[in-house]
């Protein structure tokens, strides 16, 4: 994340950062450590505690040709900016005021014992809003390439960084040195298979891969698709996979009712119903706020085992 921001700021002097304690302090997750000294206080702006205010200001700066990247200390704090994002920023292109090239990024997701207010996934708060894009990478390499694309994109992008990415062992990879960008709106097939399609994103990609290994022991070859961008949704990739396997399981860390699984389900009804050999099912977190206690949080989230159970069920169907 840090690398992508740094390189984009070097490449394009229209890019600048705003957020709480991102300057001298370097950000709650230290993503912007060293930025203030290098880029100066005009491009690394410490703001008052006012997520709505600085997101709205980002819109104004974007109107003037800049490319703001604003940080939410935790993505949970995007809620005070919900209004300006959905009513002003998302509608700008449609209203004839031009698209607003800005990125709102920050840490999301659970497993860190953050409790109800430092663990949320915010995609479904914005998924219903035409005009926004939503990106949710599953690993540092994708994160870097997708963040670059998000910054270069002319539309407002909500960029969710799972806290697991900042430090999880499976994410310790050396990133390519070259300036690569990963296009928005394209899913990636992480594992090929022909018995079952598992569509997922974010941290759950890793859990689904563990489940796929387990399923392979039963001779079940699961295909695992990492959506990477949630809006616009890469329905072609999902439909292609479903047409191959006939079975679809959607896995998301976000809570159940009103999660993205619903939209995927109806799109596959529209696009691939003839190929479905079983119901479209989902494995998700429970419909509740994120519990504070670790024991409860682990139970609340989907486990690899849950995915295996559902996968076996679907393949036998």
């Amino acid at each position: 994340m840090s690398e992508a921001l740094w390189e984009e700021m070097e490449r394009d002097d229209r890019v600048f950062l705003m957020g709480e304690d991102i300057g001298a302090y370097g950000g709650a997750f230290k993503v912007t450590r060293g930025f203030l000294r290098h880029f100066g206080p005009e491009r690394v702006i410490d703001t008052p505690i006012s997520e709505g205010g600085f997101t709205g200001a980002a819109a104004g700066a974007a109107h003037m040709g800049l490319r703001p990247v604003v940080e939410m200390q935790f993505m949970d704090f995007i809620s005070p900016a919900y209004d300006v994002l959905t009513n002003y920023i998302a509608t700008s292109l449609y209203r004839g005021a031009g698209a607003l090239p800005l990125v709102v990024r920050g840490p999301v997701g659970g497993g860190n014992r953050g409790g109800p207010f430092h663990s949320q996934n915010v995609e479904m708060a914005f998924f219903h809003t035409p005009g926004l894009k939503i990106v949710y990478p599953s690993n540092p390499k994708d994160a870097k390439g997708l963040l670059k694309s998000a910054i270069r994109d002319d539309n407002p992008v909500i960029f969710e960084e799972h806290k697991g990415l900042y430090r999880a062992p499976f994410c310790r990879e050396v990133l390519p040195r070259d300036d690569y960008a990963i296009p928005l709106g394209r899913a990636r097939t992480v594992l090929e298979g022909r018995d079952l399609s598992i569509v997922t994103y974010g941290l759950m990609v890793h859990r689904c891969l563990v489940a796929a290994e387990e399923l392979a022991k039963d001779g079940i070859r699961a295909e695992v698709i990492d959506l990477r961008t949630l809006l616009p949704l890469d329905e072609d990739a999902i439909a292609a996979s479903v047409r191959k396997t006939g079975k679809l399981l959607i896995v998301h860390e976000d809570t159940r009712t009103g999660g993205i699984a619903g939209e995927i389900a109806i799109r596959m009804n529209e696009r691939a119903f003839e190929w479905l050999d079983g119901p479209i099912l989902r494995v998700t977190s429970i419909d509740s706020p994120v519990p504070f206690s670790g024991v409860l949080e682990d139970y609340f989230q989907p486990s690899a085992n849950d995915v295996v159970t559902a996968g076996r069920y679907l393949v036998k169907y």
């Binding site: 702006i45 709205g56 200001a57 300006v84 002003y88 292109l93 449609y94 696009r271």
Partner: protein, 345 residues
């Protein structure tokens, strides 16, 4: 002149020494606004404009305030959001009556094919940003515009019009806090409508300003010369790095709302040596412009439904709705393909 006004007024503008070209412009725009106001009401009555515009008025003071900015059509002038005082400031920023009517009339030829309403008019080259969202939002957005000016060290200012009660919103508070903290070149006009009533716990303009550590001034005198001067002074402070200013605008006077314009005409003749010839020609130009616009409006094409499908992302085709009278036919292969790619059934 109160000490606050004194402190804000730029030296070269003291004692009403407005440049003749500016005076002429102001009078012209005033005539235009008056005629536009009358024409809109007539158009509504005739059914050529939507009944939403039945109560349409222009506040001349907003024209005067906006004219004190540096208005240009090259994308390098000041930037203004007329907000609830639309379209007054737009006229000062060079919007023609025809352009306004196209938008108000929801015509295909309006800047955004009339996808959104008159107050949402945006033209960045002219420095106009339209309104969208609840009260307070536009102060946030214009704070960001001003932030960009400051960051690029441009001598430009941002001007935003808000209702008085907008100060009660969290959105306004956050926008103002940010603007004040960064000392960006922003001028916020707080207009009392006189229509509603105040429900907030606060407060005088100076109390509000003190909370953000910024300058504030209220003006209400006619013939609005001082209004112009104060705005120009606030602008000078803004571009010179002295931070935001709040300008309080009293409720419009009862009775003849155009008395301020009349007074300015009187003042211009008596005190600024305006010739009768110039006055007449300003009147005439205004009339021709508005009449042309009204005639023309009737011949402008209506919106076409496909504009509702305008893309919401750049570079993307609009997503077709699943079913519309024409699309899709049950066998349309783009919607339902059978295995092997042949249409279903």
């Amino acid at each position: 002149m109160t000490p606050e006004v004194e402190a804000l007024t730029p030296t070269h503008l003291r004692d009403g020494a407005l440049e003749p070209a500016v005076i002429e412009d102001l009078l012209y725009q005033g005539f235009q606004a008056r005629l536009l106001e009358r024409s809109v009401r007539e158009l509504v009555r005739a059914g050529d404009l939507d009944s939403r515009f039945a109560g349409f008025t222009v506040d001349f003071r907003s024209v005067v305030l906006a004219r004190a900015m540096r208005c240009g059509a090259d994308g390098r002038g000041d930037v203004c959001c007329p907000g609830p005082l639309s379209p007054g400031p737009s006229l000062a920023f060079g919007v023609t009556p025809l352009e306004f009517l196209r938008y108000a009339g929801l015509k295909r030829t309006s800047a955004s094919a009339a996808r959104s309403g008159g107050r949402s008019w945006t033209d960045l080259r002219r420095g106009l940003i339209g309104w969208s969202g609840p009260r307070g939002t536009m102060t946030q957005v214009l704070a960001g515009v001003a932030l960009a000016f400051r960051q690029r060290r441009e001598r430009r200012a941002a001007l935003v019009f808000e209702d008085w009660r907008a100060t009660q919103t969290g959105a306004w508070h956050e926008g103002m806090s940010l603007a004040a903290a960064r000392r960006v070149p922003l001028i916020v006009v707080l207009a009392r409508s006189g229509a509603g009533k105040m429900n907030g716990g606060a407060c005088g303009l100076s109390d509000i300003a003190a909370n953000y550590g910024i300058a504030a001034v209220s003006v209400s005198e006619e013939p609005h010369v001082q209004l112009f001067q104060v705005a120009a002074g606030a602008r000078r402070n803004a571009v010179e790095g002295r931070g935001p200013t709040l300008l309080g605008l009293a409720a419009p006077r009862e009775g003849d709302r155009w008395a301020g314009h009349d007074a300015l005409v009187g003042w211009a003749i008596a005190r600024a040596g305006l010739s009768d010839r110039i006055l007449k020609s300003a009147q005439k130009d205004a009339r021709i412009g508005v009449e042309h616009a009204v005639q023309r409006l009737r011949r402008e094409p209506e919106c076409v439904p496909r504009d509702a499908l305008a893309p919401v992302h750049t570079g993307a085709a609009p997503i077709p709705p699943w079913t519309r009278s024409q699309v899709p036919q049950p066998n349309d292969p783009t919607h339902f393909e059978a295995p092997g790619g042949t249409p279903v059934r």
